[in-house]
Every structure is written in C-alpha cells, then in structure tokens.
C-alpha cells in the first residue's frame, strides 16, 4: 500500500512555521547568564519536530539543515556545551533561513540552499570545536556492523542461542513473535526451522515469579538467509538479552550441539561469546564480509536516492494541483469555540422544528407562541453570528510576536538600548484585520526606534535612563480595537515638521495650524524629517502608506506627542470587517446606513446655529466648534420634499478629518448589517464603503464617513480658522 504523503504537507508547513515562531520567541527570551532548561528543551523540541517531519515528508534539504542545529541544541541541552551569544545569533539566523526555505517549498518552488549551506558550514565548525560528542553520536547512528557476519559461512543456515533477560516480557517483547518472524524468514526461502527449548534455569515453583521468563532457546534455521535479517528480528532485545549466532555447517552440527549447554550456564559464569572466537579465526573472511556489507549499503543508498527522486517528482506533480490551494489559508480554532457553535446550531434546530410544527396547525390564537418562537430564533441567530465571528478572532499576540526579534535586531543595528513592553496581547482581533495591520505596525515601531528614541548618551544628558522604552498596547474600546505604539523618546519636533512642510510646499506661511494639525502633517505623502536617510526608516515613504493601509481597514490613526517625553501613535480599528453596527437613515425614498461608531450625536437644526459661508455652503456652531454641513440629497442627487435647512434632522459624524454634519430626512432604527463589497459586485463609488441587504430584501448603501468628510475638507480648514 502506498500513501500519498503530500496530503499532509500543508499541516506540516503550518506546524513548522509555528515551531519556528516558538523557537524564535524562546531564543529571544533566553538569558545566557541563567539558562532555563525548559526554554532550551522547548527550542530543541521545535527543531526536532521540524527535522522529523521534514524527513518523513521527503524534504531532505530541511532535515539535513535542521540536523546540525539540533545537534548543537542537544549538546546545550545535555550540558555538554555552554550556550554563547554567538549560538543564539546563529540559531536566530537559522530560524529566518528555515522560514524562507519552508515558504519556497510551500509555494512549490525549489528552495535556494545557498544561505543554508553557508550556515551549515558555520555550524559544523562550531560543532567541531567539541568534536568528541559529534563523532560519538554519528557512530551511535550507524548500525553496529562488526565481526559477526560472515555471509559465506551462513549458506547452510544459522544457529541462534537466545537467552532472554528475565524481564523480557515486561517490555512487551514476546519471544514467540520473534520465533514466528524467524520461521517466516526461513520459510520464505524454502528452508526449515526448529526451536529447542531449555528449561534448566527454571526455579522451583515456589520461587517462580509469574511475570519472569526463565526459558531459553536454541533455534536452528536451515535456510540461506542473511545474518543481518536475523539480527534485525532481535534488534529490540539485543542490548539486554544474550544472543549468539553461529553459522550452521552442513556436516558439523555435532559441535554446535556441544556448545549449547555451555551457553546455558547462568550469567557471570558464561564463557567468552562464541562469535568472538569466530571472529579471530576468520579474519580474512570478515573483511570480505565487511566489503559485502559496504556494497549492500551503497546499493541501499542508491535506492534511497531513487525514492527521493520519486518523492520530488510526486511533489512536483502535486504542486500543479495544489498551487491554488496554497493560497487558501487556514485558521486554527480552539475546540471550545467549535463546541459552542455546535451547541447553538442544536438550539437553532429545536427552534426551527418548533416553528415548523406551529406553522402546520396555525390559527390566530397561537400568534403569541409564534412571536415567542420568532424572538427565540432571533436570539439563536444573533448568538450564532457572534460565535461565528469569534472563530475569525485571534489574539493580537499573533501580530505582536515578531516585535521582540525586530526590536532586538534594530536596537543592535542602531546602538540603542531598548526595552519593549507589550500589553494586552490577548486582545482579540479579526484575522483579516490582523494580517493587514502587521506591516503598518512594523513601520511604526521602526519609526519610534529610529526617530523617536534618542541614543543612550543623549538620553542621559536629558536626565533619562539610558534604556529607552517602547510600549505596544492593545485594548478594546467601544466597538473597535485600539493599538498604541508609545515611546519615551524626544517627541515630535513641531518646528522642524513645520519647516519641512513649508519647504515641501504642503502648507503656506500664513497657515495657522493647531499642534494636532502639525503632527498630522507627518502622514502626508513624501514627508520625512530625518536628517540622514537611514536603512531603518526615513525614506519618507512610510507614514502616508501606514495611514492609507489603516484607512483601508476602516480604521484611523492619531498621533500625540509631548516634547522631551515621547510620542504615542494610536490606531483605531474595527473589530471585524464583515459586520457593522449601523444607524439607518432615510433620504427621499432611499435608505442609507451610517456606521454607528462614527456618529457623535444627532440633533435637529435650529436657525440660530446656522452660518452661511458662501453660496449654498453652510457651517453650524456646535458648542465651541464649527461643523460643516452637507446634504445627502445633493451628493446623491435625490429628490426630497424638504427645501429648507431649518428644522432638518442632522447627524453629526466624526471621520478622519474631524466632524461633519449630515442632513437627512428621517432617522430609522439601529441594526447590525452584513457588509457586502461594492467593488467586488459593481465598482468603487465615492463616499460609499459598501452595501448591505435589509430585512425586506432591498439594498442599502453604507456611507463612508471619511469620504464624505473629504468633500468638505477644503472648507473645513476655513472653518477652523474662523473658529480660532
């Protein structure tokens, strides 16, 4: 039976990537001065599993490479070698390298082994420094081919003297099984097989322990079989049982019979093992046999090679099929969540059957029961929906886990001392959002390290500790998740940002900007204040991209900063991209939806609040703020009965560029809506972020608040100046 191993590849890759993450985080946590053996064990185990799996599933490049680091880890684990910083650095490089190799293999490409080979040589050098152990372990791996086998002698067959250790049964090794195998072996080549049992060592009945084995056997195998095949049968017991082999000569069976009783004397008094004598006598033959063995070995190696090629060919063949499937990512879900789901589906089925029964024999007297049933259905649906959404939620530690390494490498590169603190790692976030937030976060952290934190000398000059601190903090806030990247560095330099913006023509000299507006300038395309463009960051292609990525996720980013004390970048993201709490509004005959989180308040306009700026452009005074007003009916060209702004319903929403008041005809209910993409089904429309289907089957559009806001942003700046 042959099994297609490629079906396990995907799982293998996933767990290997997990293993690499574990290795990395544990390597980073490793303190050289005080090595925690459990940490080393965990790292070793991860490497070991990757190697074992890679070997089994035919990725010989990986298993060969992993072998060297496993060897090093094993030496460290067993205390034969002290761990040094150099080892950690090398191991971390290996983790990166393995990640690359695995990604290549997963994508179905032939991996580039150049870096791996280089690292391997480096490892072998390190290992050679303490070579005593490595050669030993290699020997242990070789099957012990010693003086026993003489293939020419064994043509007629073999005599096996088998004196098991007394507790052989307690290891599950049943002698009967071995005899059966020997018999099969002999009969396969039309030979014969005899077992002779010796009971001399049986103690008195009263002294007998029922679990012990007191018997021993002499087995005659009259067949042309290789000694190595017989040895293989006894492989598991050879170390603790007394087993001797001698070739069966055609005529001289007498001598062997004589030898038997001798071999049965209790241990300790045993004469030198028979095969030793043989070895001395038959030296030249031994070397011939060894040569034979070598030949067999090389043949075996050849066949291995063929196997490998086959595996490769198979892998290549399957790649074509699986190429598509590598794109579909999978997700690991805890069994509790699944159980919860199954539970709820059960409830749903009960409700459904209850309603079904009600429907069959319905009359108006049962209307109350129908309503109860529907209420129950609604609850079931909502719970089910919540649980399904939970499946997509992962703790943010998935996105945070790469930072210890990143900060470590970067701070080394920049000669800064940095302490990274991560808070709220268990905060859960939608998987899709998580994947897209990774890169912006990396950029922010790099930025804080490079530009935010000062070098140690400067910090001390400023009365701070030499070690800078970066904090990543994630928490839920309302219907969204907030991720903060905080540093205790120099803070944003307002004057320099202003000068730079002037130089780049982003603002004019007369612009009167608030602190917040100045800080916001760093998110403008092409803006960078770094004096020297470094490798790390500062090519000026960052912050605007960060902002764009976050906006694409319906999120927002804010920065606040105190000179000399540091800066905080806070990212606000929706928990999920699939469902939204919405406020339904009516304009003319159309229904639109505002994301509930964006709404600040809803009010009825009074004339006293209104100020006309130009033509049809109005702003309203809302306490101490001036808010521009837009009419949905104008934007979407809808005919409505209302002509005058006075007394109109106004929804004040807050987007990226501040507040804006939106005039609508009527406020309807609030409800959760499932977001359907417009781009996928139609095309992108300005000021609209998506669509949904309402209970009555009609389509309603979801408003993009930031998009609405940019329509008024030119005027908004004016309004701020008026207000100032």
């Amino acid at each position: 039976m042959s099994i297609d191993l490629s079906q396990f590849h995907q799982v293998f890759f996933e767990e290997s990537f997990e293993g690499l993450d574990i290795m990395e985080s544990n390597l980073l946590a490793l303190n050289i001065a005080e090595v925690d053996s459990e940490t080393i064990n965990t790292i070793f185990r991860a490497a070991h599993s990757i190697k074992g799996g890679a070997g089994t599933f035919g990725f010989m490049q990986i298993s060969g490479f992993t072998h060297v680091l496993e060897t090093l880890l094993d030496e460290i684990r067993s205390g034969e070698r002290d761990i040094e910083q150099e080892h950690i650095d090398m191991l971390l490089q290996c983790v990166d390298c393995l990640r690359g190799l695995m990604s290549d293999l997963q994508a179905g490409n032939e991996p580039d082994m150049a870096q791996a080979d280089e690292l391997k040589i480096h490892f072998e050098k390190v290992l050679a420094n303490n070579s005593k152990n490595s050669t030993e372990s290699e020997n242990a791996g070789e099957p012990c081919v010693d003086d026993k086998s003489t293939s020419e002698q064994g043509r007629a067959g073999w005599i096996v003297h088998f004196i098991p250790c007394e507790d052989v049964l307690c290891t599950g090794n049943e002698p009967y099984r071995m005899f059966r195998e020997l018999k099969d072996l002999a009969e396969a080549v039309n030979g014969s097989f005899e077992v002779e049992c010796h009971r001399q060592s049986l103690p008195k009945f009263s002294e007998m322990h029922p679990e012990m084995c007191y018997l021993s056997w002499t087995i005659h195998i009259r067949a042309d079989v290789e000694l190595s095949d017989i040895e293989e049968i006894f492989e598991w017991v050879v170390d603790d049982c007394d087993i001797r082999y001698e070739p069966l000569s055609d005529s001289g069976s007498d001598t062997t019979v004589e030898a038997v009783p001798e071999s049965l004397v209790p241990e300790g008094e045993t004469s030198p093992p028979l095969h030793n004598n043989d070895a001395v006598n038959t030296d030249p033959k031994v070397s011939a046999a060894a040569e034979d063995n070598l030949k067999i070995d090389s043949r075996e190696i050849d066949s291995c090679e063929i196997d490998r090629n086959e595996v490769k060919a198979k892998a290549n063949a399957s790649v074509k099929v699986t190429k598509k499937s590598t794109e579909t990512t999978s997700i690991r879900v805890s069994i509790d969540k699944i159980d919860g789901l199954i539970n709820m589906v059960g409830e749903l089925v009960i409700t459904q059957s209850m309603l079904g029964q009600l429907g069959q024999e319905f009359d108006m007297s049962r209307i109350q029961r129908l309503q109860e049933g529907l209420a129950q259905l609604e609850q079931n649906t909502r719970e089910l929906q919540e649980s399904v959404m939970k499946i997509r939620m992962l703790p943010i530690s998935f996105a945070f886990s790469r930072f210890p390494r990143l900060v470590r490498d970067l701070s080394k590169q920049l000669s800064k001392e940095v302490d990274l603190e991560m808070i709220g790692e268990n905060t859960e976030l939608d998987k899709t959002v998580m994947e897209k937030i990774g890169d912006p976060l990396v950029h922010l952290v790099r930025n804080s390290l490079d530009h935010g934190l000062e070098c140690p000398e400067e910090r001390i000059r400023n009365g701070k500790t030499s070690v800078g601190k970066i904090t990543l903090n994630a928490f839920h806030h309302g219907g969204s998740i907030v991720i903060e990247v905080k540093d205790d560095g120099a803070g944003l330099n307002k004057d320099r940002i202003r000068d730079k913006a002037l130089e780049k023509g982003l603002i004019t000299k007369d612009d009167n900007l608030t602190d917040g507006q100045i800080y916001d300038l760093i998110f403008q395309p092409g803006f960078s204040t770094a004096d020297v463009v470094s490798d790390v960051s500062g090519r000026g292609v960052g912050m605007d991209v960060v902002k764009r990525n976050i906006t694409e996720l319906n999120g927002s980013i804010e920065v606040s900063s105190i000179p000399g004390e540091g800066s905080i970048f806070s990212i606000r993201l929706p928990l999920t991209l699939a469902i939204l709490d919405g406020q339904l509004v009516k304009v003319g005959n159309e229904i639109y939806i505002f994301p509930l989180v964006s709404i600040v308040e809803s009010i009825q306009l009074e004339k006293s609040m209104l100020n006309n700026i130009t033509g049809s452009q109005y702003v309203m005074q809302l306490r101490n703020d001036y808010v521009p007003i837009i009419c949905l009916q104008d934007i979407f060209n809808i005919k409505t009965a209302r002509q005058d702004l006075e007394g109109a319903m106004l929804v004040v929403v807050e987007g990226d560029n501040g507040k804006v008041g939106v005039v609508v005809d009527e406020l309807l209910g609030q409800q959760q809506v499932v977001i359907k993409s417009l781009e996928k089904n139609y095309q992108k429309v300005d000021s609209i972020s998506g669509a949904t289907i309402l209970g009555d089957g009609t389509v309603a559009l979801i408003l993009d608040v930031s998009g609405l806001n940019t329509r008024t942003s030119d005027k908004k700046n004016d309004s701020h100046i008026h207000a100032a």
Binding site: M1, I3, F8, S49, G52, L169, N173
Partner: protein
C-alpha cells in the same frame, strides 16, 4: 481489529501515522502528549502504543514508565518513534520498558510492516 494509540505532538506526523494505520484497518486513537495518552489509555485498553519521544508536558519515556506501572499495560507492546541520532534515547526508552523503536524518518510501508510484525 487491533486497537492502537498513536502519540505525537506534531499534528502532521500524528495524522500521517493515524491515516496509514486506519487505512490498514486498525482502530486508531490519537493523543498529542504523554499525559493525554495516559488518560486515554486508562479509559480504553489498546493492543499497541506508538509514541514519539520528545513531547511537551509528558515525554515518551515518562509515558512508557507510567504505562508499565498499570497492570493492563504490563505486557502491551509500546513502540517509540525516535530519530536516528538518538542512540541514548533508545536506551532510555528500553530502560523505561519500551518494546522497541521505529526510526524516523520512516515511510508508511515501513511503519505498517513493523506494526504487523508486532501484532502478528
């Protein structure tokens, strides 16, 4: 048909072993570490236990030691899955009471052959 308990912390290995054995008609249950295996073994009698050595929580050697303490598992064959480099592990496994070992990497056919021999 004989029942087998397959213990490995690596999901891919466990799936492979279990798939192979089920394909040959054995009744297989899986456990992802020694302590889970021990719990399962106490509730159900298996004809053979197949265990990885390096596992979190409870490793394969400990598992063998614990299983041999149970009356029901005194003589049950327990095979260790080891890698070729771990000569010491084989010895430690034997000492703890393991029946034998299967050397990784192995292919499904090798695995089946060994299991068939042990179970007869």
């Amino acid at each position: 048909m004989a029942t087998i308990l397959a213990v490995d912390d690596s999901t891919s290995m466990r799936q492979m072993v279990s798939f192979t054995l089920k394909g040959a008609g054995y009744d297989v249950r899986e456990a992802c570490d020694g302590s889970e295996a021990l719990d399962i073994a106490k509730t159900q009698q298996f004809d053979l236990v197949l265990s990885d050595v390096n596992m979190p929580v409870m490793d394969g050697i400990q598992l063998v030691t614990e299983l041999r303490k149970l009356g029901e598992y005194k003589f049950v064959p327990i095979l260790m899955l080891t890698t070729e480099s771990s000569g010491d592990t084989k010895m430690a496994g034997k000492k703890a009471g393991a029946t034998g070992w299967i050397v990784k990497p192995f292919n499904p056919d090798q695995l089946l052959n060994t299991i068939k021999k042990v179970l007869g």
